[in-house]
Amino acid sequence: MLISKKWLSDYVKIELSPRNFSDRMASVGFEVDGYTSPGEGCEGVVIGRLVKIDRHPTIEKYFVCTLDVGDGRLLQQVTAAKNLVEGGLCPVVLPGGRLSGGPEIGDAEFDGVRSQGMMCSLPELGLSKADHPHAIEEGIFFLNEQETPCEVGQDALAVLGLDDLIYDFSITANRPDGHSVMGVAREVCAALDQPYRPHLPQVKGGGGRVEELLSVRVEAPELCPRYTARAVKNVKIGPSPKWLRDRVRAAGMRPINNLVDITNYVMMEYGQPMHAFDLRELADSGEHAQIVVRQAGEQDQTFVTLDRQERTLSPEMLMICNAREPVGLAGIMGGLQSGIREDTTTIVFESANFNGPALRRSGRKLGLRTDALARYEKGLDAQMTAEAVDRACELCELLGCAEVLDGRIDIDHTDYRVHSIQLDCDRINKICGTDIPRAQMVSYLERLQFCVEDDLVYCPSYRADMEGIADLAEEVVRLYGLDNVPSALHRGVTPQGRYSPEQRFERSLVQAMLGFGFFESVTYTFYSPRAFDQIRLPEDDLRRRAVVIRNPLGEDTSIMRTTPLPSMLQVLSANHNYRNEQARLFELAKIFLPADNEEDLPEERPQLTLGTYGAGDFYALKGVVEALCKALHLTPPTFHREAGQPTFHPGRCASIRMAGQEVGVIGEVHPAVLQNYGLDRPALLATLDIGKLFENRLPAPRYTPLPRYPATTRDLALVCDEDLPAAEAEAVLREVCGELLEQLELFDVYRGDSLPQGKKSLAYALTLRDRETTLNDARVSALIDEALALLQQRHGITLRS
């Protein structure tokens, strides 16, 4: 919200520096986002009078001007401008001065003729013809002396109103009244402890009764709680006076003409949007004019707005109509014909209150946003419509641009009663942790325009945000100053702070992964449905059933992920593209599995995802998974060949199980998937369901006495079929040796010429120990023989000779 300091100064005297003023306003909840001056960066610009014009002696198109810049100082300037007026006043940059953001302007020479400083054009001062209608933009800006009284040598920025300061207030959503000069002025007065003296519009009138010209009927009072209108006649359309143009410009708008500028001025001043109808639009010639506020219904399907767009209407949309047809989209935009034209003679000012949410829905459906709509959406005070329309009429009289008709039409369905709140001082102090006396509270509230009588606080109509005691507490404390509220840590029962077992588990998990040399990644939890194609999921794969976002930013972020694999592949691919030689990454984040019933929330399952390239093969990653399970003290996982996972290499993929339950998958990425992600080297992935890992925690360990008898080791080189999983041979060894087998290590796998075709050799080191006695050779040999016999019988395994 841009607010001119000059405009504010109509109400309140601001002596603080811009920085201190901003800080003060922030401390009462009206934050200033920044401030600028329209003339910022301009230096040494004064009013000069062009006293003499000569032709340049050698350059045909140039003129040599002599300028009086005050104190008897004369400057000589060379210019090519054609609109020179001898005796005219114009802004002049003195030598050594500058224009906004520009370089220093000094002396120049044009073919032997010296030029000191520069005469300015409108655009060079950030102005346009709209600000100074009598001037031109392509040439020197000569001031209209009648309109802009000034003297030679005066600071041009002050003369032109460019010495103003524009504050950009950030208005919170609970204070729609803050989107107006009066609203901000009220707060500034309260903040600076100055009395707020509002201006009450005085209208002379005398142009006849408005009721004789116009009648208004509101057919949808819930959508239009109040409709106020006044009329003016004998309108003389023309430029606004300079003071009005300056204010309109300071508020960030372009001056148009006096009538439009008045409606914009009132909108800025009061925050009340206004519309000006040409009476001819509301009535056929001579006929009594009529405004009907109704919904579009079935009869009006389309409407052409002021911007020449044909809009498709919905039946519920609120329209401003004449007796036959719509002339405006209520509170949003007028119709093509409804605006003020050059030949307009009689104008109806609409100052209405519309239902914000309904207007918001209409605006969204139409894809239309206007300044007026933005104001209505925020919720406006219905009690200001009459004063605002009076103000517009008063300005018409002040400018002498129209004759005001007596009376106003005011259809009021608001049934307004002043809202009051019990002033419970103890409660306020209890909320704030303060000890503010009642009298001080009352004084704060009165500064904020509340009226306190006995124990009741009466709220101004524009403070619809005031509901109860908490709101009063906020009003009191923001003037008392939050910085003055004593900080005091709450005493009382202190609940125990702690991490839950699940949170501690996650922490250990992360610590372990970091210890294994993995980097943590964080990815988006949504992706494109095309990701399922990229990881080669078949059409009927359950993972293709995802939670779908109705209004995504784009297809790429349109579904919630059901598997973390595409996210990790994306990260690996990106790192590969960044030419990172190797990658070890993990992510701990959720997948989302849709519920059977659409109205239930999906299941959110945290997953651990590992991804590597250039950092070892399948066994390297498997080792990490195994080490992780050990580090977290989990049921030892088993790995089972998995040829049916489409994302993985069919020969290099395993499901991971704990106590028979599947907890994850590990494998080398399928070459086709690698290709889909632009990876030209093998990559490995593993996922583990954290919930299932958590369920598989082993009980806390108990101490086992250290062994007192020595261990015996035996190496076995077993020859078996190439296809036999090592796990099968190991199972036999464990079965036979039972508790005596302390450790079993596969230390070599050999394939080669010394073995028959289709065979491999597995070399195991067995560590055997009896905790009760020394194992003698005979017992060990008997055990090994038994194992070899069973290996032979079950899997045809022989001892390598």
Binding site: I469, H490, R498
Partner: protein, 340 residues
């Protein structure tokens, strides 16, 4: 005989002194003290002496034996020391050459900072709550005093799944969930992902992280809110952090408080980082709106509470001076390696 011994002493000690290496020394030991040595020979001749002389010469001979042995040992020690010196000088390595690398993982900077925040709060008696990211409209908006037609609910801000289910736009729904199932005293923080329909750029992301805090008990005041946030800011940003509390507005708190930190770059003078304001916004907070408490079945006449919300990304970016939010979600190892 005494003279012989005296001559022998001089010759023997000189012989020991002049040996060149360990082997020569061992040879000298045999030559000087062995059975065929001159000393041995002298001792064998002692039988011919008188008892008195034998005692005298025996004493001298034993003394000489001990002295030779001592000098041999000393010489040997000297040789060992020299040999060790020699070996050590040969075994010198280049200690400036790099150590054998151990692969080290790194925590993502977002969670590095989040871990620190969790520690601070757990230390202050808070528990950590986790809630669903796909959430009911009711918890994300309605029960937080954000009715159906509030501008924050525009589809341009919120991702919807169905009419009543959405991707949570804030961690605040966990306030409602917690208060519905737990009676005061409540002290929780809720870190987590939230979703807003913002296009990706250097300062925006459709997914980001928030940390919600909620305290509900009897007698909780604004002063408590201030004190807690001051402690947290000091722990996170250092003891000399300067905070500013200013009134603001959030639908689910009343009074609402925005907290600014004096710009650490310009110390309040105004600079591009703080957009000339001298202050940097760090979090939003306020006293839990009585209507929110009541909606969750907590009597606002007995209990009061305060809540806050911090955006994690902004905070992490400020701490590490990261100028582009996208880096946090790209997971480029060259980026991730920088944080510890």
């Amino acid at each position: 005989m005494k003279n012989q011994l005296e001559q022998l002493r001089q010759k023997a000690l000189q012989a020991v002194e002049t040996t060149g290496d360990l082997a020569a020394l061992e040879q000298a030991r045999v030559d000087l003290l062995g059975k065929k040595s001159a000393l041995s020979a002298i001792m064998k001749q002692m039988g011919a002496l008188s008892a008195e002389e034998r005692r005298e010469v025996g004493r001298l001979a034993n003394q000489l034996h001990a002295d030779i042995e001592h000098s041999l040992d000393e010489k040997k020690a000297a040789f060992s020391a020299a040999a060790l010196e020699q070996r050590l000088s040969q075994e010198r390595i280049d200690v400036t050459a790099p150590g054998s690398p151990i692969p080290l993982g790194r925590r993502h900077p977002l969670y590095l900072v989040l871990d620190e925040i969790k520690e601070i709060f757990v230390g202050m008696g808070y528990e950590i709550a986790d809630g669903p990211e796909v959430e009911y409209d009711k918890y994300n908006f309605e029960m937080l005093n954000i009715p159906r037609d509030h501008p924050a609910r525009d589809t341009q801000d919120t991702f919807y799944i169905t009419e009543n289910i959405l991707l949570r736009t804030q961690t605040s729904p966990m306030q409602v969930r917690t208060m519905l199932k737990q009676k005061p005293p409540i002290r929780i923080i809720v870190p987590g992902r939230v979703y807003r329909s913002d296009d990706v750029d250097a300062t925006h992301s459709p997914i980001f992280h928030q940390i919600e805090g909620l305290v509900v008990d009897e007698g909780i005041t604004l002063g408590d809110l201030k004190a807690t946030l001051e402690v947290i800011a000091q722990r996170l940003y250092g003891e000399d952090v300067v905070l500013r509390f200013r009134p603001s507005h959030f639908p689910f708190t009343e009074p609402s408080v925005e907290v600014d930190m004096r710009c650490f770059s310009c110390h309040g003078e105004g600079c591009p980082l703080c957009k000339q304001a001298g202050w940097i916004e760090i979090l939003g907070s306020g006293m839990v709106h009585p209507r929110v408490l009541a909606g969750c079945g907590i009597d606002p006449d007995i209990y009061s509470g305060w809540a806050f919300g911090i955006g994690l990304e902004r905070m992490v970016m400020r701490m590490y001076e990261i100028d582009d939010l996208r880096l946090l979600y790209e997971n480029d190892l060259r980026f991730l390696r920088q944080f510890n």
